[in-house]
């Protein structure tokens, strides 16, 4: 059994739900799109709320450490949900790519892998190519939380998701269309030899000529023929459909949202009733 949920309903209520996970108004406002997008495009947005709930409820203002030295920028989220920082991570990658041709952001201690495609999409929407690798730490590298690589050509209309990342250890990695992308492959190797205890997101943003974008498509085709299906997602079509038709979701999933939203409401009293007008 499902219930009908409207896109406009999600837009209106999501920031309040995120606030009730312990985030500021500002962060809630900033990160609502990431969850709504993930639900509309991948059908996994509600789970981001559910998974974040027990770990950060009542937490103080979130902070991250930014280290610009070495191969790229390193952010440490301290096991906080990636959705709350997704827009900031994508924008940082975009800005660094704007000045340096390409950029790599390594994000440690991020939870909620389902938001990784949104990070790639947001970078691509700004006109950059994006590769985003979700690398779960040892405790999370289970059958249901496997690594995944998201490929997003500039413009963001489509993205590809590779759920079998053995591609990165094959000779195919040498076909990556721009040099910095090989860092993704390198990081994958590092992970294999010296596992980082925390989940990690590797974000690559790069300026790509039209030719490079075409090479990215070729690469995806090769990977698909060698390692199995690449989940090619028409983002525009899924978003438009969600807006036009709404979503059909099991009531218990939607209840995550309504339960959180109800927490922002203050108990009433006669004095309170007089404060409306």
């Amino acid at each position: 059994m499902t219930m009908h949920v409207s896109y406009g309903e999600l837009i209106r209520t999501m920031p309040e739900a995120i606030r009730m996970l312990g985030f500021t108004y500002s962060q809630a406002d900033d990160s609502a799109e990431s969850i709504i997008w993930t639900e509309c495009v991948l059908g996994e947005g509600y789970e981001l709320l559910r998974d974040a709930d027990p770990s950060v409820a009542g937490a103080p203002v979130q902070t991250v450490k930014c280290n610009g030295e070495g191969v790229g920028t390193v952010l440490s989220l301290g096991n906080r949900p990636a959705f709350a920082f997704a827009a900031r991570i994508a924008d940082l990658a975009t800005v660094k790519a704007a000045s340096d041709e390409a950029s790599i952001i390594r994000v440690h201690g991020a939870t909620g892998p389902a938001v990784a495609p949104f990070i790639a999409f947001r970078i691509a929407r700004s006109g950059y190519g994006a590769l985003v690798l979700w690398n779960p730490g040892p405790r999370h590298n289970t059958d249901d939380r496997r690594p995944m690589l998201i490929v997003a050509p500039p413009a963001g209309a489509t993205i590809g998701i590779l759920r079998d990342c053995s591609f990165l250890t094959s000779p195919l990695r040498n076909d990556l269309p721009f040099a910095c992308a090989r860092s993704i492959s390198q990081a994958w190797y590092e992970r294999a030899t010296a596992p980082h205890p925390e989940d990690e997101i590797l974000v690559l943003a790069a300026r790509m000529a039209d030719r490079s974008a075409g090479e990215l498509d070729d690469l995806l085709a090769k990977a698909q023929s060698t390692f199995g299906p690449v989940e090619a997602i028409d983002v525009s079509e899924r978003l438009e459909r969600a807006i036009a038709e709404g979503l059909e979701v099991p009531p218990e999933r939607h209840r995550i949202l309504t339960r959180l939203t109800s927490r922002i409401r203050i108990p009433s009293s006669e004095r309170s009733r007089a404060q409306a007008g």
Binding site: S6, Y7, L10, S26, V95, Y128, E245, R263, R265, I266
Partner: protein, 619 residues
């Protein structure tokens, strides 16, 4: 450096006339659009835009009046132009008014259905607050035709589970309304005796039988998102979907009073006179939640204001010869407005101008406007500024409401400018508030200094400067305003404190290097992302912020409420308190049969006159 796409599109708009331009000119106002309005001197036009310090102060927003750009006006204009058909398919109510009404609407070849569930009244005047279970009328607007099974299902969800039901994509939204009991009952009693209601009595109530208690569409309860309407949908223009149910409630009110009268006394009952139907509108009441909405969407706030201000600047920037015909029409409108305010009920709120005083000031302005005509008659192109002179005279009388009403009537006089400005509105609404991650902090500081100096000047440590906070109550999320020092819930307050947020951002930037980029800053300080995006938006669009301290003890919520309601099209507002505003929409609007005939589009500010007998003899 290559800029991301969305940033490139926005940066084109920054201060195109940065020498003396009083406000930023948004990118949707293209040179082609300006040329189509006959603008040859862009600087002159920009110089005629009113400053944000003048327009966006709360006490000035309080005075803003409905204009042809208001959404009720533009909707009615469209309905008349397209000759919409609105017909009652069934009016099945008993002698107490309980029952079901079904309306079929054909608008530009698209069908909609409005289904009303009318409840029996026990004579209680329901306030229409959003946690109340009691309403006199509940209704659903559907896209397309609906069958009996669907109507029954909707009744179970809407009427049977008030505030807890669900609908789906076929439904454009739910709406609620209540009887204005004294006037509704008076009208029924008179009609069933074969008489018309007492006009003088009706005037004391603001001129309506039914009072709107809210529209719940755009996704609420699972209804269709407004964004899902295709561009050819008759209600795809911003806010037309929200306003259309108001028109329908007005019609429902007439049909229900007549049906009850017929049930009670079939032999003697008469229909409500068309003249009275046309004069009356539909009531509305709104509370402080509107302030939170105005603050939440600064790009919409800009959209509410800028097309109106631009159209006004176009009026003042005309360089053609004096237009005697337009001046005559303008003077007639001033007289009409004077008569209208003369009939408006008084308002007990000290800060609201008295309607009779406003009426007198309008007559005086009309007199001066006529005198000025003699001065300007025969003047040639480029040598007349009649319209500005009249507006300036109105300013000298020291009444903000007069000044804004005169401005609204100036816009009324030049439909070519308001029609053109109307085209801008959908584009203005599409602008999204987004973080521009590329900009450097030195530049961000400059934007704050340029666009938010008014906010930096406010001393929030002064007594009472942080007195209030907005919150949502457990009673269906109703917006309320608490005292910060007394009431619980500050930790969950609804964001309205723009001044505090801007000051916090300014302080946070103080020790940051100028060359650092916003993206790096916000990774470290994500709690400032919202206000950063807000400040950046103000760089691209004007009139986006209320220039006042909303949480101050002296801030009057009615200022923002009146403004938003006027923007929607409310012609008269009568604040019930400084936090709760009642008023009338669509007073004078053409009736369904007139709309079908494509007639009755000059309906602004109707006056009934003083004689009850005149009505009886005209019947």
């Amino acid at each position: 450096m290559v800029l991301p796409n969305f940033i490139r599109s926005m940066t084109r708009t920054i201060f195109p006339e940065n020498e003396r331009c009083p406000v930023p000119l948004p990118a949707y106002v293209t040179d082609e659009w300006l040329a189509a309005q006959g603008v040859t001197d862009k600087r002159r036009l920009l110089a005629n835009l009113r400053s944000e310090d003048e327009v966006m102060r709360p006490e000035r927003l309080r005075a803003i009046k409905a204009t042809p750009l208001s959404f009720a006006r533009s909707l009615l204009q469209k309905m008349v132009a397209e000759r919409w058909l609105i017909e009652a398919q069934s009016v099945d109510v008993d002698a107490d008014g309980a029952g079901t009404l079904v309306y079929r609407i054909v608008a530009a070849d698209r069908v909609m259905t409005f289904v009303v569930f009318a409840r029996r009244s026990d004579g209680t005047e329901y306030p229409g607050r959003i946690f109340e279970p009691n309403f006199d009328f509940l209704a659903a607007l559907f896209d397309g035709d609906v069958d009996a099974a669907r109507i029954e299902r909707e009744q179970q969800e809407l009427d049977g589970k008030v505030w807890h039901g669900r609908t789906d994509n076929a439904c454009l939204g739910w709406t609620l309304a209540n009887r204005s009991v004294r006037f509704f009952n008076h009208t029924v009693e008179r009609l069933e005796r074969g008489e018309q209601p007492d006009e003088e009595f009706l005037k004391t109530g603001g001129g309506y039988l039914i009072r709107n208690a809210g529209w719940y569409g755009n996704g609420r309860f699972g209804s269709r998102s407004w964004k899902a309407l295709d561009s050819g949908h008759p209600l795809s223009y911003p806010y037309h979907l929200d306003i259309f149910p108001l028109y329908l409630w007005r019609t429902v009110g007439y049909d229900v009073v007549e049906a009850i009268a017929r049930r009670r006394n079939p032999a003697a009952a008469v229909p409500l006179a068309s003249r009275l139907k046309a004069w009356m509108g539909v009531g509305n009441s709104s509370g402080i939640g509107m302030i939170a909405a105005l603050v939440r969407w600064p790009s919409w706030m800009s959209a509410y204001n800028f097309p109106r201000e631009l159209a006004l600047a176009l009026v003042f920037s005309q360089s053609n010869a004096f237009d005697a015909k337009a001046a005559k029409r303008f003077c007639q409108l001033l007289q009409r407005a004077a008569r209208y305010y003369e009939e408006q009920p008084d308002c007990p709120i000290e800060q609201v101008e008295r309607p009779t005083a406003l009426s007198a000031a309008l007559r005086r302005t009309a007199h001066i406007a006529k005198q000025l005509q003699q001065k300007h008659l025969g003047r040639k192109a480029g040598n007349t500024n009649y319209w500005k002179e009249v507006a300036d005279f109105a300013q000298t009388l020291g009444s903000p409401e007069l000044s804004e009403q005169v401005n609204a009537l100036l816009l009324e006089t030049f439909p070519r400018f308001t029609d053109a400005a109307m085209e801008l509105f959908p584009e203005a609404m599409k602008i999204e508030r987004r973080v521009d991650p590329l900009i450097r902090l030195g530049a961000l500081r400059s934007i704050i200094a340029e666009r938010y100096s008014w906010a930096l000047r406010i001393d929030q440590s002064a007594p009472g400067a942080r007195a209030h906070f907005w919150y949502k109550s457990e009673e269906n999320g109703e917006n309320r305003r608490g005292d910060r020092e007394v009431d619980p819930g500050v930790d969950k307050e609804t964001f309205v404190d723009v001044v505090g947020a801007v000051q916090a951002l300014d302080a946070a930037l103080a020790d940051q290097p100028n060359e650092k980029q916003v993206a790096e800053f916000l990774v470290e300080r994500p709690e400032l992302s919202h206000v950063v995006s807000r400040v950046q938006l103000a760089q691209w669009v004007p009139y986006s912020e209320i220039r006042g301290n909303i949480i101050d003890a002296n801030f009057l919520p009615m200022d923002g409420i009146r403004f938003l309601l006027s923007t929607m099209g409310l012609e008269s507002s009568h604040p019930h308190s400084t936090r709760w505003v009642r008023g009338t929409f669509l007073q004078g609007a053409p009736l369904p049969e007139m709309i079908r005939a494509g007639a009755g589009d000059d309906w602004l500010l109707p006056a009934l006159g003083r004689s009850v007998n005149a009505l009886q003899s005209a019947k």
